[in-house]
């Protein structure tokens, strides 16, 4: 049976999703201030890494790197609500791309699995 990552379409699917997802994040006033001073190209590259992980693809993320990577955002007030918004936009993105609800739920579960590391608790 195909893995989640294969069913979603692998790396080309990440490429297709990243602009839609990041555009949703940047347009959302509840979260876009976290991206104020970041270089867009660098952010897009990071979002691709995140999407690859959430899609169940190959990645090198560790709990430690997740914690370090988000520490400065937690200091700026990053909390559960923001993680919920990320998962909401992730779902919206996949819906637009015609992904099945069951697969969207799986992606959401993987993303949710990183919640405690992202929030440094």
């Amino acid at each position: 049976m195909a893995t989640l990552y294969e069913r979603l379409g692998g790396q080309p699917a990440v490429e297709a999703a990243v602009d839609i997802f990041y555009r949703k994040m940047l347009a959302d006033e509840r979260v876009n201030y976290f991206f104020d001073n970041t270089d867009m190209d660098a952010q897009i590259a990071k979002q691709k890494g995140f999407l690859t992980m959430a899609f169940g693809g190959p990645n090198n993320y560790t709990g430690k790197s997740m914690r370090e990577g988000h520490k400065h955002l937690v200091e700026k007030g990053l909390n559960d609500t923001h993680v919920d918004i990320v998962i909401e936009h992730l779902g919206g993105t996949l819906k637009e791309l015609g992904v099945a609800d069951s697969d969207i739920a799986e992606v959401a579960a993987i993303a949710n699995g990183a919640r405690d590391d992202v929030l440094n608790r």
Partner: protein
Amino acid sequence: MGNQLNYKDNCYTLADNESVLDCLLREQLSVPHSCKSGVCQSCIMQATDGEIPEKAQVGLKPTFKQRKLFLACQCFPSGDITVANADDAGIDVKAQVKEISQLNHNVIKVSLEPSEPFECEPGQYLTLINPEEAARSYSIANNPEKDGVIELHIRLLENGLMSGWLKNIAKAGDEVILRGPAGNCFYSNDEGDDFPIILSGTGTGLAPLYGIAHEAIAKGHKGEIKLLHGALKEDDLYLIEALQQLDKDNQNFTYTPCVLNGEEGKFYQTGDIQEITIASIPDDKKNTRLFLCGAPEMVNSLKTKAFLGGLSSKNIYVDAFLPSK
């Protein structure tokens, strides 16, 4: 016997199924990297000799591919290969000052003749080093391969180390050093597609855009090409006649000068170049390529606006002119 990997004057042997990145890391060399999955692009390197496998360039912009940049973590060479850090691959070439002329009240054009071919694309940038060892980066405004000289547009700054030297001391025949080139803001179209191109910049951000516009036209680009040049005051514009002529001579090229503090009823549009640029994005947003050069605040803000407006992130090319410190 494994393939050879040359890096910084050393030669390493790649193990079976070993990526360039893993080989360098195994040799205890420090190479930036993160995801090791071909996604984050932090391990980007440049091949100076040898074949790059296709897989090592998946997801890179066309201009990256043309510069032989590749992802070290996805690069499993099928033969010997020579690689460099993406920023170190340039070379130093001696050049002579050929001519210095005034473009407007505070911009000069400097023409330099390299002593040997300086391979670069119009729109890329180089570092100019003068005899006093001041070093500053400038964009290439022409096609040096065709013209035999490299043209730079340089803004005169009060107490500017390089611009002051060029204005007051330098003369034809003086020797300088060119280092580079670097940068991914240039025209690339191997497939001969007819995508729309928008070139937008402020001040001497016109230099790379002028180079890119001429290159696209010279290569017979079929899609529309719009060039917008923003200035605070009317006399900050330059190359107006040359661009108006280019507009007249080429049906698919339009030149729009924009002056923020301008008057109505003149040859330019009055207003904010950011708004005018966004308003000029064609319907075919998906394929439009946008080049932004000039003041960092302007290019970065416009980049985000254009992306939110529907342009694809990989079609936005930016060169923010950072002030020297």
